[in-house]
């Protein structure tokens, strides 16, 4: 590409000078060059964040009408929940005296506290919905079939982990709604044969929903379950790639790509 005359007359742009520094080159080993597909792919593959995406992908697999983008949106919501959740932790104490007081404090006084809390709440609700829609899409497109059957199982585990995150987050405001929801929920655990009572005892750290249960819900919600979920998410995304990419419809050939002889260009 030939530089335009007026651009040529100017001095070297700051952006270009930054790109020549050793600091820049030590971070971005391979400069993005839009020359050919191979060098573009190299720039993507040598960047840890970009390489999470496939360097190249089947055009038909990214049609929103086919994938709905629900898996990606679920992951995006997980990121939103992580960021807003970490910020909420700066003002929240998981103790019986302070928990509900901190919720009121966040709602009414902390700068942007109400926005933050509502973002966390709505993203939590939405994540459950988008995961269901993601699963529905996978069923409708038959994407659970060989060779993707293991990834379906990983996905089901991720669904359970998401529901557990919702459930443990329920108690944290320490209000009437959460208290009774967890009372009912842990009583349901009690219905499990033989070990039911022990499961409930271990979940609550006691026989009633009290300070121990609040602290346990907090640790499971903020550390335990997210860490396990991140491990399973890594496997889930990795397997999407290894099992042949996002499953897509039969390839579409554009009219412009068909030569008179009937062969694709």
């Amino acid at each position: 590409m030939k530089p335009e005359p007026e651009r040529e007359a100017n001095r070297v742009p700051l952006r270009e000078r930054v790109r020549q520094t050793q600091l820049w080159k030590s971070i971005f080993r391979v400069e993005l060059q839009r020359t050919d597909k191979r060098t573009r792919a190299l720039a993507v593959l040598s960047n840890v964040f970009l390489h999470l995406h496939p360097a190249r992908i089947n055009r038909d697999a990214v049609r929103y009408g086919y994938t709905w983008g629900m898996g990606g949106i679920s992951f995006y919501l997980f990121l939103v929940l992580t960021v807003t959740g970490v910020l909420l932790m700066f003002y929240y104490h998981p103790t019986k005296i302070q928990a509900f007081r901190d919720i009121l404090y966040l709602e009414h006084d902390v700068p942007f506290g109400r926005l933050l809390r509502n973002m966390h709440r709505w993203a939590g609700h939405l994540m459950v919905i988008t995961i269901w829609l993601h699963m529905l899409r996978v069923v409708l497109t038959g994407s659970y079939k060989t060779p993707r059957e293991f990834n379906w199982v990983v996905g089901v585990i991720l669904l359970v982990l998401t529901l557990l995150l919702s459930f443990t987050g329920y108690l944290l405001p320490d209000d009437q709604l959460g208290f009774w929801a967890v009372t009912v929920g842990t009583n349901m655990a009690r219905a499990a044969p033989l070990v039911g009572n022990d499961i409930r005892f271990a979940l609550l750290g006691g026989s009633i929903v009290d300070a121990n249960a609040l602290l346990r819900a907090y640790v499971w919600h903020c550390i335990g379950i997210p860490v396990v979920a991140i491990v399973f998410m890594s496997v889930h995304f990795w397997r999407v790639r290894k099992d042949g990419g996002i499953s897509g419809p039969a390839p579409v050939v554009l009219e412009s790509e068909i030569t008179p002889a009937g062969k694709p260009k």
Binding site: L87, F90, Y91, Y105, D109, V110, P111, F112, G113, L115, L116
Partner: protein, 178 residues
């Protein structure tokens, strides 16, 4: 490129410009959004309300204090109230070495810092250990009711060298007639 007709070249140029300006708008929107979020997060870390003890508070009437060092307000407000014949003042319980809280040792009639052994006499003057200057005193005054008001956000400091001028500063003590 050279084979293209002028009109076609102009069209392509216009398309490239539109593409470039669209990219600029998108990047502006993205950086604007992220920048605003960063500012909001920064603001989030500065709470509007604190649940700490007020720095300005009343500690009672002069008659409530006997001669000597009073430790009643050390835990709650980090001060010792010292009454001497004719005057009363409050020492801010913070070692001038590295900021630990010293202890009042009645038997030896001195304040002793547990961190590095600085010692202060009953008036808070350093006489041993690494402390560079006497402990600070807080602002004190008598309100209209005759109660003592202390403000720990206004400390009266002694210079590290030279004579100490606490008595020259009327904000650092209240005069008691009895």
């Amino acid at each position: 490129m050279a084979l293209l007709k002028p009109a076609a070249t102009a069209g392509r140029r216009a398309g490239a410009d539109a593409y470039a300006s669209r990219r600029r708008v998108v990047w502006l929107a993205v950086t604007g959004f992220c920048g605003t979020c960063a500012l909001m997060v920064l603001r989030f870390f500065f709470p509007r309300t604190l649940f700490e003890a007020s720095t300005r508070f009343r500690i009672g009437y002069p008659a409530d204090f006997a001669l000597g060092v009073d430790e009643r307000f050390k835990q709650s407000n980090r001060i010792w109230v010292v009454r001497e014949p004719g005057k009363l003042f409050a020492i801010y319980a913070k070692c001038t070495h590295l900021g630990c809280t010293p202890n009042w040792i009645e038997a030896e009639n001195k304040f002793k810092c547990p961190c590095h052994g600085s010692g202060y006499d009953m008036e808070g003057r350093n006489f041993e250990g690494p402390a560079p200057r006497p402990m600070d005193r807080t602002y004190v005054e008598l309100d209209a009711e005759g109660q003592i008001v202390v403000d720990t956000s206004r400390l009266v400091q002694c210079a590290p060298t030279g004579p100490c001028e606490f008595d020259a500063n009327p904000e650092s003590y209240v005069v008691i007639s009895s």
